[in-house]
C-alpha cells in the first residue's frame, strides 16, 4: 500500500494514542503526538516521534480545541490526523477543519459525520431502512417538566434520557418515576453540555433485561462493507463498559445473522465510511434493537483484532488512503477474546476517580495476553481526563480459556499510587453469571454492592509487608519513583531505628 501521507498527527492521549503510534511505526509512517501541559511527559508523548503542545490541562482548551489541534498538525508537518476515540473523534467540525487544512482525516469523511451527528436523525434513517430501533419519540425532549412528562408517557418507566450529541454514558440517566424527571434531566443536560457542547436530550424506553451487542464494520470508499464479528459489552457500570468480549456468548445463529445484516443495512442507509460500530440491545427473546452508530474506533476494538487477526487502525489508515477492503472471508474468527478495562477508581468508595503519581507498576504479559497501556512507572495520572489506565486483553481457544488467562493476568497487574478496579474486575470474572455468559446490562448495577464490599486483608499481605520491612529495598524501589530527596532518606533512618539493638550484630553483611 502507498499512503498519500508520510506523517500522522495522533489527536489523543493515553493508551489509545500509544496504540495508534505503534501501528504507524509498523506501517513506516511518522507520528506526531499532542499534549496538554498536564501530559508534557506522558507515555504517549515519549512514544511518538515528535510532540506538539496544544494547551493547558483543561480538555476544552487542549484536546478538545479544534483550532489548537489543527494548528499542532500544521506545526508538526503532519499530512493526516488520527483522532482515536473520545475527544474530537466524532466531531464533524473537526473533520471539516482537517479537510480544509489539507489534512487526511482518518475516519468517516466530514460530510458523513455532519449527516450523522444527530442521533435522533440517525435513528429515523436506519429505521426507514428496516433496522429495528429502541421504542421512543423521534424528537428531542423540550425543556421543562411538561415535556419530560409527555416523553415519559410515550416510553413508560423505566425510561432513559440520552444526550443527542453524546455517548460513553455521559449525559445519560435512567429515570424510574415522574418525581425524578426534573432533577435527572437537569443533571444530564449539564453533563451533556459540558462533554459535548450540546445539552439536548431524547427519551427511549429501557429495553431490559438486555445484552449490549455491537457489530464491528469497515467500509471503504468504493462501497465495500465488511462485518468483522460482534462484541458483547453487557458488563457495564452506569453505562460505562467494564468487560467486553467476542464472539458474543449465547447468541443464536439466527440472532447473529440478523445483527450482522442490520449493521450492513445501517451502514448503507447512512453512507458510512471507515471503521465504525453499530450498537444493539438484544432482549431475552433474541430480538435486536438498534441503539446507535459509533463513528470511530471503539475502546474495546482489541478483542476483535485478537480473534479476527487484523489491525483495525492499519485498516482505518488504508481505507483513508483509498484502498479497497479484502475478500469477505479475509478475517475469519479464531478462538475467543475478553478485555478488562483497568481504571483509576476506587470501587470500595463509590468508584470515585483516583489521581496521583504512579509509584510502581507491573503490567502482565504471557501467551495470549495483550496490554494496551497509557501509564508508566514514575508517571502521573492527572485528574483532568478519563480514568482508563490500561486494557488487559486475553485470547484463548475457548471462552473459558480466555477468562482464565485474563484472571491470571489481572492477578499479576499491579498499579501502586492510585486506586484501581483490578480486584473488582477479578471478582466480576469469578461470578457464576459471567462464567456462564448470562450477564445483562443491569448485572453490575444490581450486584455492585456485593462485588465492591471490602475483603479482609489476607495474611500474605502482612507477611509481604513484613518481608519488605525486614529487607529495606534500594532507594528507587522504596519510596517510589515519585518521591526522592531528604524525606525518603529520613524515613529509611526511622525504619532502621525500629530495629532492635543486637539484631544488627547477629546479621550478616547485606
Amino acid at each position: 500500500v502507498t499512503f498519500p501521507f508520510r506523517k500522522v498527527l495522533v489527536a489523543n492521549r493515553g493508551e489509545i494514542a500509544l496504540r495508534v503510534v505503534r501501528t504507524l511505526r509498523t506501517l513506516g509512517l511518522a507520528s506526531v503526538a499532542i499534549h496538554s501541559d498536564a501530559d508534557a511527559r506522558a507515555p504517549h508523548v515519549l512514544e511518538a516521534d515528535e510532540a506538539q503542545r496544544v494547551g493547558p490541562p483543561e480538555p476544552a482548551k487542549s484536546y478538545l480545541s479544534v483550532s489548537a489541534v489543527v494548528d499542532a498538525a500544521k506545526r508538526g508537518g503532519a499530512q493526516a490526523v488520527h483522532p482515536g476515540y473520545g475527544f474530537l473523534s466524532e466531531r464533524a467540525d473537526f473533520a471539516r477543519a482537517c479537510e480544509q487544512a489539507g489534512l487526511v482525516f482518518v475516519g468517516p469523511p466530514a460530510a458523513v459525520l455532519e449527516a450523522t451527528g444527530d442521533k435522533l436523525g440517525v435513528k429515523a434513517r436506519v429505521a426507514r431502512a428496516g433496522v429495528p430501533v429502541v421504542p421512543g419519540p423521534l424528537g428531542a425532549v423540550a425543556e421543562g417538566k411538561a415535556a419530560l412528562e409527555q416523553a415519559a408517557a410515550a416510553t413508560g418507566f423505566p425510561m432513559l434520557l440520552k444526550a443527542v450529541g453524546g455517548g460513553g454514558g455521559r449525559g445519560l440517566r435512567r429515570v424510574d418515576a415522574t418525581g425524578d424527571l426534573v432533577q435527572a434531566a437537569e443533571s444530564a443536560r449539564r453533563e451533556a453540555g459540558g462533554a459535548f457542547g450540546d445539552a439536548r436530550l431524547y427519551a427511549e424506553a429501557l429495553v431490559h433485561p438486555a445484552r449490549h451487542v455491537e457489530v464491528q464494520v469497515l467500509a471503504d470508499s468504493k462501497g465495500g462493507v465488511r462485518v468483522i464479528g460482534e462484541r458483547d459489552c453487557s458488563l457495564q457500570r452506569r453505562h460505562q463498559k467494564v468487560i467486553e468480549e467476542t464472539p458474543a456468548p449465547g447468541l443464536s445463529a439466527e440472532t447473529r445473522r440478523v445483527l450482522h445484516e442490520a449493521a450492513v443495512a445501517a451502514v448503507g442507509a447512512l453512507g458510512y465510511r471507515n471503521a465504525g460500530t453499530v450498537e444493539f440491545l438484544v432482549d431475552r427473546a433474541g430480538r435486536a434493537f438498534f441503539l446507535e452508530v459509533n463513528r470511530r474506533l471503539q475502546v474495546e476494538h482489541p478483542v476483535t483484532e485478537c480473534v479476527h487477526g487484523l489491525d483495525l487502525v492499519a485498516w482505518q489508515l488504508r481505507v483513508a488512503a483509498g484502498e479497497s477492503l479484502p475478500a469477505a472471508d479475509a478475517w475469519a474468527p479464531r478462538g475467543h477474546a475478553v478485555e478488562a478495562r483497568v481504571c483509576a477508581e476506587d470501587p470500595e468508595n463509590g468508584f470515585v476517580p483516583s489521581s496521583g503519581p504512579v509509584l510502581a507498576l507491573r503490567e502482565p504479559s504471557g501467551p495470549g495476553i495483550r496490554v494496551d497501556s497509557g501509564v508508566r512507572e514514575g508517571g502521573e495520572v492527572p485528574p483532568h481526563y478519563d480514568s482508563l489506565l490500561m486494557k488487559v486483553v486475553a485470547h484463548g481457544e475457548t471462552r473459558a480459556d480466555a477468562i482464565a488467562r485474563l484472571d491470571a493476568a489481572l492477578a499479576r497487574t499491579a498499579v501502586v499510587g492510585v486506586r484501581t478496579n483490578v480486584a473488582f474486575l477479578r471478582r466480576v470474572l469469578a461470578t457464576p453469571e459471567f462464567r456462564e455468559g448470562l450477564v445483562r446490562t443491569d448485572f453490575l448495577d444490581e450486584h455492585a454492592a456485593t462485588l465492591c464490599a471490602p475483603e479482609p486483608t489476607p495474611v500474605e499481605v502482612l507477611l509481604l509487608a513484613a518481608a519488605a520491612e525486614a529487607m529495606p529495598g534500594a532507594g528507587a524501589a522504596d519510596g517510589g519513583a515519585g518521591g526522592g530527596g531528604p524525606a525518603r532518606a529520613r524515613t529509611a533512618w526511622e525504619r532502621l531505628r525500629d530495629w532492635r539493638v543486637g539484631a544488627d550484630a547477629a546479621g550478616s553483611a547485606s
Partner: protein, 191 residues
C-alpha cells in the same frame, strides 16, 4: 540483608493487625526466613526481595507483590489489589479506627470541580439526600448525607476547584436528631 525484628501494628482500612516476626537471612545472602506471630497465630515464611518486588513462600504457595513506601504507609500490591498499611500504636483497637469518621463535615471524594451545591447554611438535610456534586474525569459524583444533619456552612461553590479530602460542607454539632455518645456524628459520604 540483616537479621532483625519486625514488630508492627498496621491499620488496613478498618482492620488492625499485629505482626511480631523475627527475620533471619539465609546463608546464601538472598532473602531469609520470617518466623513469629501474625495476630497471635504462629507463622513461618520464606521471603526474598528484588527491588520493589517482594515474594514470600507460605503455607505451601508463593506470593509476589510490589511493595512501595509512601511516607509511613506501606503500599502492598498483590492479587490485583493495593493494600495501604498505616502504622499505628500497639494496642489500637479496630473500634478506635471508626472514631476518625465522626467528623462533622463532608469532604470532596476526589480532586475536581464543584458543579452544584444542593444545600444552604442552616438547612436540615435528611440521610441520603444530595449535599453537593463534584465532577472529575468527565463524571459527576454526588455526595450525600450519611445521616440526618443540619448544615452549618458551605465552604465551596459551583465552578470552584477542590482537592480530594477538602471540606465542602460543615454540619452543626449536636443538632443532629438521635445523636448518640459513640464518638459524635458521621461525615458525609459516598454516592
Amino acid at each position: 540483608v540483616k537479621a532483625g525484628n519486625v514488630e508492627r501494628t498496621w491499620r488496613v482500612g478498618r482492620e488492625v493487625h499485629d505482626v511480631d516476626l523475627r527475620f533471619e537471612p539465609s546463608r546464601a545472602g538472598e532473602g531469609g526466613t520470617l518466623a513469629g506471630t501474625v495476630n497471635g497465630a504462629s507463622v513461618t515464611a520464606e521471603a526474598a526481595r528484588a527491588g520493589a518486588e517482594v515474594s514470600i513462600a507460605w503455607a505451601g504457595s508463593r506470593a509476589t507483590a510490589l511493595v512501595v513506601r509512601r511516607g509511613e504507609t506501606l503500599l502492598v500490591a498483590w492479587g490485583g489489589r493495593t493494600y495501604e498499611l498505616v502504622p499505628v500504636e500497639r494496642g489500637t483497637h479496630a473500634a478506635g479506627v471508626h472514631e476518625a469518621e465522626g467528623e462533622p463535615f463532608a469532604t470532596s471524594p476526589m480532586t475536581g470541580v464543584v458543579v452544584k451545591v444542593h444545600v444552604d447554611a442552616g438547612a436540615a438535610v435528611a440521610r441520603g439526600a444530595a449535599l453537593f456534586v463534584v465532577e472529575a474525569m468527565k463524571m459527576e459524583y454526588v455526595v450525600r448525607a450519611e445521616r440526618d444533619v443540619v448544615v452549618e456552612d458551605v465552604k465551596r461553590g459551583p465552578g470552584e476547584r477542590v482537592e480530594v479530602g477538602e471540606v465542602i460542607v460543615t454540619f452543626r454539632e449536636g443538632d443532629e436528631p438521635g445523636d448518640d455518645d459513640e464518638g459524635g456524628g458521621g461525615g458525609g459520604g459516598g454516592a
